[in-house]
Each structure stands twice: as C-alpha cells, then as structure tokens.
Symmetry: C2
Subunit: 312 residues, 2 copies
C-alpha cells in the first residue's frame, strides 16, 4: 500500500478535463458503479461524506472520504479536506491512499469546464464568477483550459475578496463587479455555500450556461427556482442532485419536478443530449461524483513515488 501526499506537481487542467470527460462518458454509457454518497453529520463540525465507486473499464475502484466544515477557515485549515483510498479490483485489497484535498476542487472545476465546453452558446466567452473562494479559482482555471475566455466578471459578498481574485486573472480581463453585472455573461459559475437563492432569474439573459456548483448538501441553493423552471437542467447524477444538488430545495418544496430534468452530463458528452437552441438557458447542477475522484487521483499519482506502507 502506498500513501501519496500529492503536494506538488498537480496535472495541468487540459489533462484533468480530459480524464473527467472520459469518466462522464463511462457514466453516460451506464458502466460506472456508484452508490449515492453517504453523509454523516458531526455535531457542530459540519459533516463528512463517504463516496465509493467502481469504474470497470478504467480498472479503478475505491472510496473518497471528504469533510465540509465551515469553521475550519478560522483555524487556518481548509473547509474541505479529502482522502481517496484505492481498492485493487482483482483482490479487493487497499492499494493506495491519496491526499485529495486539492484534487477535490480540481475535479469539480473540471466538471464545470466540461459542461461549459458542451453547453456554452459559443467557444469564446465572457465568464461570470459568483464567489471568490478556492472552488471558483479551480472553475476559472479549468474553464480557461477548455474555452477561449475573453473576460472574467467576479462577484463576492466580500468585495476585497473579489478584487484579489480578479487581480490573479488580469490577463483574462478580470474585474470585480456587481452581482447583476457578473450574471451578464456567456458562462456563469456559482460556488458559494448559500442556503438562499443569490441569482435572480431576471439577471440571466437567453443563451447563458450556468454551472451551479455550490449546492452540494440538503438545504443549500444558489439559484432563483424560477430559473430552474425556465432552463434546460442537466445534472451529474440524478439521485445525488435530488438529494443534495441545486435542485434539492425546490424539489423538496414542490417548486421543481425532477421529471423535468433534461439529462445528465454523461448523456451530454456521449452525444445523447444537449442544449436545444442557442437561446436556451442551460444549467449544470453539479454535486460531485466519486468516479471523478477516482479518475483524478489516478492521474495525479502517475509517476510519483509516495510512502510505502505495510499492509495487510
């Protein structure tokens, strides 16, 4: 068994986007095995999630264990920390353990980039960014590797965070703007921990693609439910999205009928589904799949050494 700290030498987003697209294709063909992620709440300390999966075609099996604890920032620790355990598909033995803290943000960013490449109305885009945390950064960098980004419009509840964020992407004409102005774009990414809608339907013009990333647990939501009713909504995984994605609150209050979902990202990348017209508003509701975690961890440790540990 080998432990990979994976502290440096992360793969480039061109590579990450490629493997994430490949696992969504396997998912779209129905070959991936992935029970819904399991949540355990820790009293006063957020929760941790257990995400097992098996990709027979890629010969990968394993489990990601990931926490979400909003109080960690005050301790100087990441809000999200993650570990992936690979299982040998022949014997069932644990064979590698990988620090997936950074990889978790990267694979989520890459899912957004893959969705944007297939669902954006054009390949040269103005990118709107809601939230200026680590996840927005990964979304921007993955998208830059997938599409021609002409302009970035960032909004954060804390304006100086948006300004610092914009300064890092000056070469892409990044600016800190009002939330309404950020929404005036071709591709909008939302990555906040909001539990009330931030993005109003009237701010979004026809043809926009939205990556709704922040809602990843029951009770979280970022979009005006009216937007969901008007848009073509794609999910990464139907049951996870109903349980914990952007649609979870509107579904539970009866404001969104999951039978109206247009399809999955796997169906999009395998050509079975897509946006119906250039005028449609499309939404990708991302919850994060265990198969993404397996694929990016396998990519990240290629050629690295790690710590050899005795097992069993």
């Amino acid at each position: 068994m080998i432990y990979y700290p994976v502290h440096s030498g992360y793969p480039p987003y061109t590579e990450v986007n490629r493997v994430i697209e490949a696992v969504f294709a396997e998912h779209g063909r129905g070959d991936a095995r992935m029970p819904p992620k399991v949540y355990v709440e820790l009293v006063g300390s957020g929760d941790f999630r257990t995400m097992p999966a098996y990709l027979p075609e890629l010969g990968l099996a394993g489990v990601k264990i990931v926490n979400v604890n909003p109080h960690n920032r005050a301790r100087g620790l990441p809000t999200v920390m993650a570990l992936t355990v690979f299982i040998d598909v022949e014997t069932g033995a644990p064979k590698a353990i990988i620090n997936s803290t950074e990889l978790t943000a990267m694979r989520t960013g890459a899912a957004g980039a893959v969705a944007a490449r297939y669902l954006a109305p054009r390949q040269t885009i103005a990118l709107g960014v809601i939230g200026a945390g680590r996840q927005s950064e990964a979304l921007v960098e993955a998208t830059i590797a997938a599409l021609a980004v002409e302009e970035i419009r960032v909004w954060s509840r804390t304006e100086k965070h948006a300004e610092a964020f914009a300064a890092r992407y000056e070469e892409y004409n990044a600016r800190s703007v009002s939330i309404e102005h950020a929404c005036d774009c071709d591709v909008l990414t939302t990555a906040t921990p909001s539990i009330t809608p931030l993005i109003m339907a009237e701010w979004i013009h026809d043809g926009t693609h939205i990556n709704a990333i922040g809602a990843d647990a029951p009770g979280k939501q970022e979009l005006d439910p009216v937007l969901l009713q008007e848009a073509e909504v794609f999910v990464d995984d139907r049951s996870q999205a109903i349980h914990s994605g952007e649609i979870n609150v509107p579904v539970s209050t009866g404001r969104y009928d999951p039978d109206r979902l247009t399809g999955t990202l796997g169906e999009v990348v395998t050509g079975k589904k897509g946006r119906s017209s250039l005028d449609a508003i499309t939404i990708f509701d991302s919850t994060g799949l265990a198969i993404q975690d397996l694929a990016i961890a396998a990519l990240a440790v290629q050629g690295s050494e790690g710590y050899k540990l005795p097992f069993p």
Copy 2:
C-alpha cells in the same frame, strides 16, 4: 495523519469484549450515528463495503473499507482485508489510518461473545462451532474470555480443517465432530460463507443460543428458516440485518417477518430486552457494525507509534 499497521500487540479479548459491549450500549441508547453499509460489487472479485459511523460520546468518527473476495485464499491473501480511516470530530480532517484486517475478525468475535454472555442459558457452556476458518477462531477466543467454556465441538465441511482447529483448543476439550453433534451444545456459532441452510431446526435443543455470523451479504444464510420462526431473534442493526444478515433470504422470500424480531444486541446490553425463558432458543444475527470497527481500532492503536504522514 498517522498510519498504524497494527501487526502485533493486539489487545486481549477481555479488553476487546469490553469496548464492543460499550459501543453496543451506545447503539442501544440511540446515540450512535451509522448509515447502513454500502456494497460495491467488483466483477468476478467479490465486493467491497464502505462503513461510515460516528460515536459522539466516545468522540470517534470514521469509515471502514473492507473487501470480501473468496478467490483470495488461492492467492495466499486473506479473504477479508480492511482499512479504517479516522476523522477528527472537530475539524473533519483524516487523522489516522489503521490496518483493520485482523481487527475485523476480532470485533466480530467479540460481538458474538457479548451476545453469548447475555443470551446463553448458563455461564459454563459447551460451545458448538460450525466452520473452521479465521472467523470461528476469533469467536472461540472471544467466547473463552467471556464465559467458562468446558467443551468445544467443531464441524467443518473439510474434516481435516476441523481436526486442526480442535487441536489448537485441546485445553478446552475441543473435538472434531459431526454437524449434528456440534449443534448439541449451549452456544453454537456459525461462520461459513453458505448460501443454503446448513443447520436444521431439529438438531437444536431448547435453551440453545446461536451466534449466526456467516451471513453478511444478500443471498447468504446458514440456518433453517424454521429455526428463525421458532426462536427469539436479536440483530445488531435492524436495517443491515434485513438487507444482508441471516434473516435476509427468509425476509425476501416471505418466510420471516422482520416485525417478529425480538430486539437488538444494544437493547440487550442496556437491559431493555433479553431471552424470555431458559427454554427459549435465542439467535444473534450479526452483520457487523461500523461502530464496532471504530471502537476496536481506537483500542488497538492506543500507545502505538505508527508512520507519520503529511496531510493535507
């Protein structure tokens, strides 16, 4: 983060039985948080199971990942291999990784011993043992630490396995016997991978306690369903037992109504439930709980050093 190989210095069964009894008590009081274990089948290689749990009172949270692969014996590998990841209950960060291969057999043996101590008709017993593998060994050793064992009667499908097993417990008057003779005892433990009933109702006399350990996945069973109908049946966890315990096949074929379950082991150790009379046949249907894994892993690493690993 620390990795503990835990290859030596396993805690004695008196200690293991004590902590396993304590977690069943926490479970009986309703304080443990434990979603049902999740199964992922590996094509042609058995399966692996993911078992998250949280024990607020003991301050323990984490996940056990365990495979069951019957083909491993031919490779010189254990059929069952397991790893436990501890999560810090304050921050959610992974804080320790423990080789739980041996601990898995031990905690299962200890659950049987705890059940036998509360449900056996007397404290000095003749012990019947069906199956002569690693799990039966752990059951015998845990039971010896819990009750006065006067005699051990072992049966295995392969007679020489039963003879070798008996030879290891000579001081307890262990003998290889016929399956019917093994069933003539005070406490019977069954730990085989059978998918058809091995133990017929007419072989079991009044007052016997049975630890039904082998059935731990859908389709497995060791006991004649008539026995379940006649006996007082206790489970470790109701939903896991219905899904994958001894009762799973009779429940799915309508031959056992789960409403007839007498109680849980947690209710037994907290004094809420017990055997109704000395004549009753009692059965403990064990599936194995993630909370047992957390408790024994915490016990096993007390005072050991392990490998320090960088994280996050």
